[in-house]
Symmetry: C2
Subunit: 328 residues, 2 copies
């Protein structure tokens, strides 16, 4: 029921994923009406939920007033062990709250965070937190860094990933109050901390893990999308004035399409919520069928490698935990 | 002496500006060695300053330890009334501190802020604060909104500019602690406040004034640059693999060049520091000759229209001032 194009695109994505992934079993959670047209399938169980949460509802209110919303029913399936992962393109605040409530946190993590993979000129980079925690303490940023580094290592296969702290100058003294304090904590950690990273250097690939609070992280992502979209429109406007340019772009079409493919967030489909006891994928609000299919694929992969357990083991193996607890 | 390519590019930009602007008189402030090669000119006075501030120096330290730095000498010229504007591509924190110290604030402003003009799909938008104040109170954001709206109106000629608050969701309840409180203040103001604006909507032109704290604002700008730069490189890589695409881009060259021109920050040259008693233009650290020339042109224009007085009058005419003082 969640996302700007639900249920149509969500269900279309589900159909595509069922075709592409022969070992996928799907619980489709939503109103009976929304699910009515979805064809019967041996690897699908429709789970009716009479309520749903709107994109703009406050989490506290949505949780109190709608105990039978689709997102709560979905997490109930995960809590009971029936479902091994939850994918939602709906209200991310509510998804976060339900995930915390139903699955709990892994040991050593006080604030689960959303990790997003970004294309860069070098390795893919993990931006964490991409929007779960808008007001953070320095110790939370240290936790994000640990989880982001483990994700980069375990999932993206990057050895000893460089961790950068997103700030407005490269020197340690630069940034706001939160970032200056976090810089000190990260400097003392055993992470491969490369210091502050400026916004300009996210996409040039100066670090494999970019750490920031969820407010800044979410704005970074949205600004990035906005720039890419606006540039595309501006370029089209220029080209329209110029017949030679139209011909040129027709000839360059193949390269342009490979390019669009490469920088399109739909290819990643969704971002995992790291630090909860289970697999939770938060999809983009504008998810279309392709994004949903890819988010389901990501979820399946994380179940396969047992993401939460690996994060938990890796965090346990680090000797950060006592320090973390003491300062958080 | 300031900026990554000083003094070479700064002086080259000065030469270009002298040619383009026949009524411009320049004080060039720097070490004698740096200025030695600049040709004598009837509209140039070289002002020697034996010291200079590095890009990464902390403002407090730079001010205390280097009383004869080029930036302080430049502001001394402005304070004494000899120079009508200061342009610097150097350490922006130090420039900010010197401007406050030498020129003072206009009445009703407790935190001067950097305003940057961004190209959008509709009107140009003013982003304020672009980096002067990294830790803000809600009342500061209200002041930025007032100054940004006046700038949009008086300088960019936009009637009743729409003011948006940069946040991570469009609803008033979304955002961090600072933004939620600022939303309430802006809602009560007489500004044409359109509510929260997401990062994605900055460049689609949903508002003519985008309000945020200086940490977030600076990251927005740098991320925008980073995305544009990375996209360019990625596209070049794709094209290189494809002879037809190379031919295509050769044909589209004229449109591409007009496009680059349109989105290049160098065209704006620099961003004014609003709220100080005078004209101060903060250039990009990576300023080249073209950026410097354009920054000098902007400074000249602001002097001509008496920017500080107009802002001061317009702020005085608003009945916000008592409220502002009470809450700041």
């Amino acid at each position: 029921m969640g996302g700007d194009y639900a249920p149509r695109e969500i269900l279309a994505g589900a159909r595509e994923a069922l075709k592409a992934l022969p070992d996928l079993f799907l619980y489709l959670v939503g109103t009976e009406k929304a699910l009515a047209d979805f064809p019967e399938h041996e690897r699908v169980e429709k789970v009716p939920a009479p309520e749903w949460v709107e994109m703009d509802e406050a989490p506290s209110e949505a949780l109190r007033k709608k105990p039978r919303s689709s997102i709560r029913v979905a997490f109930e399936l995960a809590r009971s062990g029936k479902a091994q992962a939850v994918v939602s393109a709906g209200n991310s605040g509510v998804t976060y709250a339900c995930a915390l409530f139903a699955l709990g946190r892994i040991r050593g993590v006080s604030r689960p965070a959303i990790a997003t993979v970004l294309p860069t000129l070098k390795n893919p980079a993990v931006l964490i937190d991409a929007g779960a925690n808008v007001d953070c303490k320095p110790s939370h940023l240290l936790q994000f860094a640990l989880m982001g580094a483990l994700f980069s290592q375990e999932i993206l296969g990057i050895r000893n990933p460089r961790v950068g702290l997103l700030s407005i100058g490269e020197e340690g003294g630069k940034g706001n109050f939160l970032v200056k304090r976090a810089h000190a904590l990260l400097s003392e950690s055993s992470l491969n901390f490369v210091g502050n990273v400026e916004g300009r250097h996210i996409y040039s690939g100066e670090a494999e893990v970019i750490v920031c609070d969820g407010f800044v992280g979410n704005i970074c992502l949205k600004v990035s999308e906005g720039v890419a979209e606006a540039l595309t429109v501006m370029l089209k406007r220029e080209v329209r004035r110029d017949p030679l340019a139209i011909l040129g772009f027709l000839l360059a079409r193949r390269a342009l399409s490979r390019f669009r493919h490469r920088v399109d967030w739909r290819e990643y489909g969704g971002a995992p919520l790291l630090g909860v006891n289970g697999v939770v994928i938060i999809g983009h609000g504008r998810s279309d069928a392709r994004a949903v299919r890819n988010a389901l694929n990501t979820a399946r992969r994380f179940v396969e490698i047992d993401l939460a357990r690996r994060l938990s083991e890796a965090l346990g193996a680090r000797n950060h935990l006592p320090d973390l607890r003491a300062i958080s």
